[in-house]
């Protein structure tokens, strides 16, 4: 029933999925944190930018963003992100698109986390002479992140599954392989089951491990 699997590089495709996920997760964590810092910061221009970014980006379908990064950025504007060759360029563009999109959600999760930190924490930090970025980096964000593990886990799981959209620009990840297998084999049920099982294998441990981490690092008040 599953003997067709021998003809395809299923593990390789999922490895690409994992790479897409990890790189995009890292990128969107950094960029999302910066956006959250802008949104709670004292500079009106940055606050405005952060708010506008989140509200625009999270309301655009991911498919549109990913297609734009390939058709718009690469084919029209010639952006290749330093890569050579169709596959490498599209992989990087897919990571870029996923970061752009996911960071809006990361930003909001972290901003919610920041709001769980009592205002007195920031006041005490300011009172001993820490500047804005120190207050945020040393006192508020470390506590906010701990409250953010659960919502960020959701974002990470969503991101893992969202990497399938990269199939739209022919990145050789799991969903593209699924499409190829469905075209070649008359095994729709088992193919879907294999791919679904693969994703569960990726996301279920993510949820369990991060759930445990979240409990472990929670700030006691």
């Amino acid at each position: 029933m599953f003997d067709f699997l021998g003809h395809y590089d299923v593990l390789g495709a999922f490895w690409t999925t994992v790479q897409l996920t990890l790189l995009s997760a890292l990128g969107s964590l950094v960029w999302g944190t910066l956006l959250a810092a802008m949104r709670v910061g004292p500079v009106p221009l940055m606050r405005g930018f952060g708010t506008a970014y989140v509200n625009i980006v999270r309301n655009i379908p991911l498919t549109v963003i990913i297609l734009f990064s390939s058709l718009g950025l690469n084919q029209t504007l010639g952006v290749s992100l330093g890569a050579k060759g169709f596959d490498a360029i599209n992989f990087r563009l897919a990571v870029l698109g996923l970061v752009v999109y996911t960071s809006a959600f990361v930003c909001e999760a972290i901003r919610a986390g920041i709001n769980t930190v009592p205002v007195g924490q920031a006041e005490a930090a300011r009172a001993i002479g820490l500047g804005f970025s120190q207050v945020l980096g040393l006192v508020v964000l470390p506590q906010a992140f701990r409250a953010t593990v659960a919502p960020l886990t959701n974002v990470l799981i969503a991101l893992t599954k969202n990497t399938t959209v990269a199939a739209a620009i022919s990145v050789a990840e799991a969903a593209l392989l699924m499409k190829k297998m469905i075209e070649n084999e008359a095994q729709l049920m088992s193919i879907s089951a294999v791919i679904a099982f693969g994703f569960v294998c990726l996301t279920l441990p993510t949820g369990l491990i991060l759930g445990w981490v979240g409990k472990k690092v929670a700030v006691k008040r």
Binding site: A124, I128, G129, Q143, K220
Partner: protein, 258 residues
């Protein structure tokens, strides 16, 4: 460099450490601080008392600009309070603050709480910061709790750690914003004792409190506020025995018969 130190000495010659001149502040339509003039000398312990909502906490918080003011001037050691940024942060490091709700950094141990400002603001090296932190914690009587997290300590212990954290910055003046109001009665004295000791060592202190006993025993001057104004200020003996204003008489009659 030499110019700076000369200027510092000049300022040190003056006895006035904190000066508020015609300070006004509104919260929306509420005029919480009305033409406040107040001068605190070096080494002086000033206790601010008054009914709830009289603006005494707000007054305390304007001195390190946790609350902004609408008009007037505040100078600390001859320098006007900067508006924002690095200058303001530097000034805040010289003004210790103790809050009603302690506000110890919840994700750091007691020791780390007292070291953080020394390392990140004063640029002290880690070893020196730890030594000083342990000494200060011993001084306020919580040396054995150094490696615990704030949530594992009692309120009184947390507040004493908060005092140590403020002292670690070598502040010129300490602000206490109702430091014992969130404490169980049995823990109030352990905090007041530390404050009394500080006062006797010559620390300049501005204390917003409801503890009349502390005002009597440790204050050089009592400032009585009501409805956003300073109604009366006097030495504690005089204030408690012979208040001049009706507002102060009324206030004292309500609280002093026990």
């Amino acid at each position: 460099m030499t110019e700076v130190s000369v200027a510092k000495e000049d300022r040190a010659a003056s006895d006035e450490l904190v000066v508020l001149k015609s300070v006004n502040k509104h919260f929306g339509a509420l005029h919480v601080l009305q033409d406040i003039d107040l001068t605190i000398d070096r080494g002086e312990v000033v206790v601010v008392i008054g009914p709830s909502g009289s603006g005494k906490s707000t007054l305390c918080r304007t001195i390190n600009r946790l609350e902004t003011i609408d008009s007037g001037t505040i100078t600390i050691d001859g320098r006007p309070l900067p508006h924002e940024g690095r200058e303001l942060a530097r000034l805040r490091a010289d003004v210790g603050m103790v809050f009603q709700s302690f506000n110890l950094f919840a994700h750091k141990t007691v020791l780390e709480n007292v070291m953080l400002g020394q390392i990140k603001v004063r640029r002290a090296d880690k070893k020196a910061a730890e030594e000083k932190a342990r000494a200060l914690l011993d001084r306020v009587g919580v040396g054995t709790q150094a490696d615990k997290y704030p949530a594992q300590l009692s309120g009184g212990q947390q507040q004493r750690v908060a005092i140590a954290r403020a002292l670690a910055m070598n502040p010129k003046v300490m602000l206490f914003d109702e430091p014992t109001s969130a404490l169980d009665p049995e823990m109030i004295n352990e905090v007041l004792d530390v404050m009394r000791q500080l006062a006797s060592e010559g620390m300049t202190m501005i204390v917003v409190t409801h503890e009349m006993g502390f005002a009597r025993s440790a204050a050089n001057r009592v400032v009585f506020m009501a409805d956003g104004r300073i109604v009366e200020q006097a030495a504690p003996e005089q204030f408690f025995n012979n208040p001049r204003s009706d507002r102060a008489k009324d206030f004292l009659s309500k609280i002093l018969h026990h």
